[in-house]
């Protein structure tokens, strides 16, 4: 007799007594959360999942079944991510997984997803290659969804920002790119050099690559200054706070914009000790500084009454987890679980969040054969986005956010969402 067969009667005995005590039938639905528990973005996602599940359980659960949350930490490390995914799939035996994993970690557990086929929703990773996998293998990837706009969509809208604001308004004609030496840095550098120049008419003077372990950016900023460019385009995901803090400490006399992941968090100002002024970054929406629709605002109110430690405001992926998890559970409710029909039911989910009578945020999906008009390609199972004004088909894929010297983040682009102007830091001379 194996331990397993010996355990079975005991376990089922416990289960039976539990059932007889509770009038509700069946076992709970298990939702797994995978993300980095010690990072702000991971915590945002986790707390959003807790809130969403509590709300669903308080209104009777899904078809009478209660929902239970199981968590697994990735430490933003691909190997830990694989272990965490295996833990959720095999030890916890969850029915559904919501992920706040960064790109690298999602890519690492992707083979495990293909193996287990547990319905999974990504809320942080934006790598367009994963959406391409859905395109190429619709059957194998049928249970995978990504409710953040893929990075290609982010970059495309950013090029417009270059033309409309940097060139037209600020008069910037040339850029020096300061990019971390990563695959992400290389990809964005490629997009910017290939599209920013021809589309927006901004010349790329020089590309400076730096090691992600760089402590001292002073020589790099000197180099950037000497290039004679009008502004710096930074691509920084790993060491972002350090780079922007030194930018301010050294009072580099050039405007800086681009991708700065640290500035996506509400704690950015306190983390940098106020040394983050003038930095602008693209942000997937909902972003810091973005006004909220009533539904999301209520979620934030609940969040802030429940959690007092950082992050005090959920990151964009917190909103994605909250709305996305509810959609996933609703789809499961419609078809009686996370079985075969779930994917089709999930594809039909379409949450339109309105503010002042206008479409503000949309959690819907691109369908398999639907072509996005601007890029001319398909994005199955990616969140529905809109790349051009007036953004009436979906939310924009991103907004540009800038931290001003008053310590507040403002949305400066696109026009429809803007609540502030793109300005130069006080020490930077105007062009």
């Amino acid at each position: 007799m194996t331990i397993k067969s010996w355990l079975k009667p005991v376990v089922s005995g416990v289960a039976i007594s539990a059932i007889s005590m509770a009038s509700l039938a069946a076992e709970p639905i298990k939702v797994g959360f995978i993300g980095s528990m010690s990072s702000d973005s991971g915590l945002s996602g986790l707390r959003a999942a807790e809130i969403a599940i509590d709300e669903i359980n308080n209104t009777g659960g899904v078809n009478g079944q209660q929902v239970e949350l199981v968590t697994a930490d990735t430490r933003e490390d691909p190997t830990e991510g694989i272990k965490a995914y295996e833990f959720l799939a095999e030890s916890a035996e969850v029915d559904f997984i919501v992920s706040s994993s960064i790109d690298d970690v999602s890519l690492a557990w992707m083979p495990r997803f293909l193996e287990y086929q547990i319905p999974t929703l990504d809320t942080w990773a934006s790598y367009v290659g994963i959406i391409d996998m859905v395109k190429d293998d619709p059957e194998g990837m049928k249970n995978y969804f990504m409710n953040v706009a893929s990075d290609e969509a982010l970059a495309t809208l950013y090029i417009n920002f270059g033309a409309d604001v940097l060139k037209a308004k600020m008069g910037f004609e040339s850029v020096v790119i300061l990019a971390e030496d990563t695959a992400f840095g290389e990809a964005i550098t490629g997009l910017v050099t290939e599209a920013l120049a021809p589309v927006a008419g901004i010349e790329v003077k020089e590309v400076i690559k730096y090691d992600i372990t760089t402590n001292d950016f002073a020589p790099l900023f000197s180099k950037a200054e000497q290039s004679g460019a009008d502004f710096i385009y930074q691509i920084s995901t790993v060491n972002a706070a350090g780079l922007s803090a030194q930018y301010v400490k050294l009072q580099v006399p050039l405007a800086m914009t681009g991708v700065n992941v640290a500035a996506l968090g509400h704690e950015y100002w306190t983390d940098t000790g106020g040394a983050g002024a003038g930095i602008s970054t693209l942000s997937p929406i909902p972003a810091v500084g973005l006004d909220l629709d009533p539904v999301s605002a209520e979620f934030v109110a609940t969040y802030q009454s429940r959690y007092t430690s950082r992050p005090v405001m959920p990151h964009f992926n917190g909103f994605n987890v909250y709305h996305g998890l509810k959609q996933a559970l609703a789809a499961a409710g419609e078809v009686g679980g996370f079985g075969d029909g779930w994917s089709a039911a999930m594809e039909k989910q379409d949450l339109k969040l309105m503010k002042d009578g206008e479409l503000w945020l949309r959690y819907g999906w691109w369908q398999h054969d639907e072509i996005e008009p601007v890029t001319g390609r398909t994005y199955p199972h990616n969140i529905r986005f809109d790349l051009s004004e007036p953004f009436d088909d979906g939310a924009p894929s991103m907004v540009v956010v800038q931290w001003h010297e008053d310590g507040k983040p403002y949305v400066v682009y696109p026009e429809k969402y803007a609540n502030g102007e793109f300005v130069l830091p006080s020490w930077v001379p105007a062009k």
Binding site: I3, R75, K83, E90, D181, T182, A183, D211
Partner: protein, 315 residues
């Protein structure tokens, strides 16, 4: 004493049998934990063959493992080479790469040797990001490496057979005169030379054996996890896990590193529900430090002593 006796073979057989039957006793989740424990045990044995025996402390073992990992990942992913060729080639490349840390060992030892190997690991970490990122994947590493198995049970059997094969072969080798000579090298290098043995040849043998195991473990590991990143590979934390596994289990033995690897991996998993984040490493590290300070010969030695006391008490 170093010869092979029946009771040893019986013990190995029992160990193999328990491992083979393991999937019947435990859940798939536990099997997954065993898989990582098996790989850690392989790396720990590799470290011990070099550092535990000969006394040349390697602080750069992830460097060796990394060569194997990257070699097979690049060959199979970037050049589409079948795994049957890429793994043996990766092992060969690792053995060649180990010459880089073997040469310094001819001149320096002790702390200095440890530092050189540490520097090699850091150098590899930085080079891998800069040199040909189209091949190495730069900082992000390589994803979607062909995996050899699907499912926890298959992964378990693969890693377990590999670990068992490595452990048993290493054990057999350590029972031969070569094993005796390698241990002697760690105790008294001068006397060994004074007994007419070429210490250079013996060191080379130890480095090659260690690199063989590291390369083999690394290559299979790459094809198990399917994704590698330099940050977690050429990492002091990874080095720490390997060394601590050996020291806790008991260096200079084969079963010690296995015990250490299993103990550490399961401790980490056991702590997961209580401390989901990196805080687990605090408890893990504190236990490692205390054990190292007060039981430097490791758990194996402790068990042996307890067994002898128990037998003494029974007799």
């Amino acid at each position: 004493m170093k010869l092979i006796e029946k009771k040893h073979l019986v013990a190995w057989g029992a160990f193999l049998l328990i491992m083979l039957l393991m999937p019947n006793f435990v859940s798939n989740g536990t099997l997954r934990i065993f898989i990582f424990a098996n790989f850690l045990a392989i790396f720990a044995i590799s470290w011990d063959v070099l550092s535990g025996r000969t006394g040349y402390i390697s602080f750069g073992h992830p460097f060796l493992i990394g060569i194997g990992v990257y070699a097979t990942a690049i060959m199979s992913k970037r050049f589409g080479m079948p795994v049957e060729y890429s793994i043996p080639l990766a092992v060969l490349i690792t053995m060649l790469g180990s010459v880089l840390i073997f040469l310094p060992a001819l001149r320096i030892k002790g702390s200095y040797f440890a530092l050189v190997t540490l520097a090699f690991m850091e150098l590899a970490y930085q080079l891998v990001q800069v040199v040909r990122p189209d091949l190495t994947g730069g900082t992000r590493g390589i994803f979607g490496i062909k995996t050899l198995t699907r499912g926890a049970e298959n992964g378990f059997y693969m890693s377990m057979s590999l670990m068992f094969a490595v452990a048993f072969s290493a054990w057999l080798i350590m029972r031969t005169q070569l094993g005796t000579a390698l241990s002697a090298l760690g105790m008294q290098e001068e006397s060994l030379e004074g007994s007419g043995k070429s210490t250079t040849k013996l060191k080379l043998a130890a480095f090659m054996l260690s690199a063989f195991i590291a390369g083999l473990g690394g290559a299979f590991y790459a094809h198990y996890v399917g994704a590698i990143a330099p940050r977690t590979l050429f990492d002091i934390n990874f080095l720490f896990t390997i060394i601590v596994a050996v020291l806790l289990g008991g260096s200079g033995t084969i079963i010690g590193p296995i015990i250490g690897a299993f103990f550490l991996t399961f401790l980490l998993e056991f702590l997961r529900p209580y401390l989901p984040g990196a805080g687990r490493y605090f408890i893990y590290g504190a236990i490692a430090l205390l054990l190292y300070m007060y039981q430097p010969k490791g758990i194996y030695n402790l068990l042996e002593k307890l067994y002898q006391r128990w037998r003494g008490g029974a007799a």
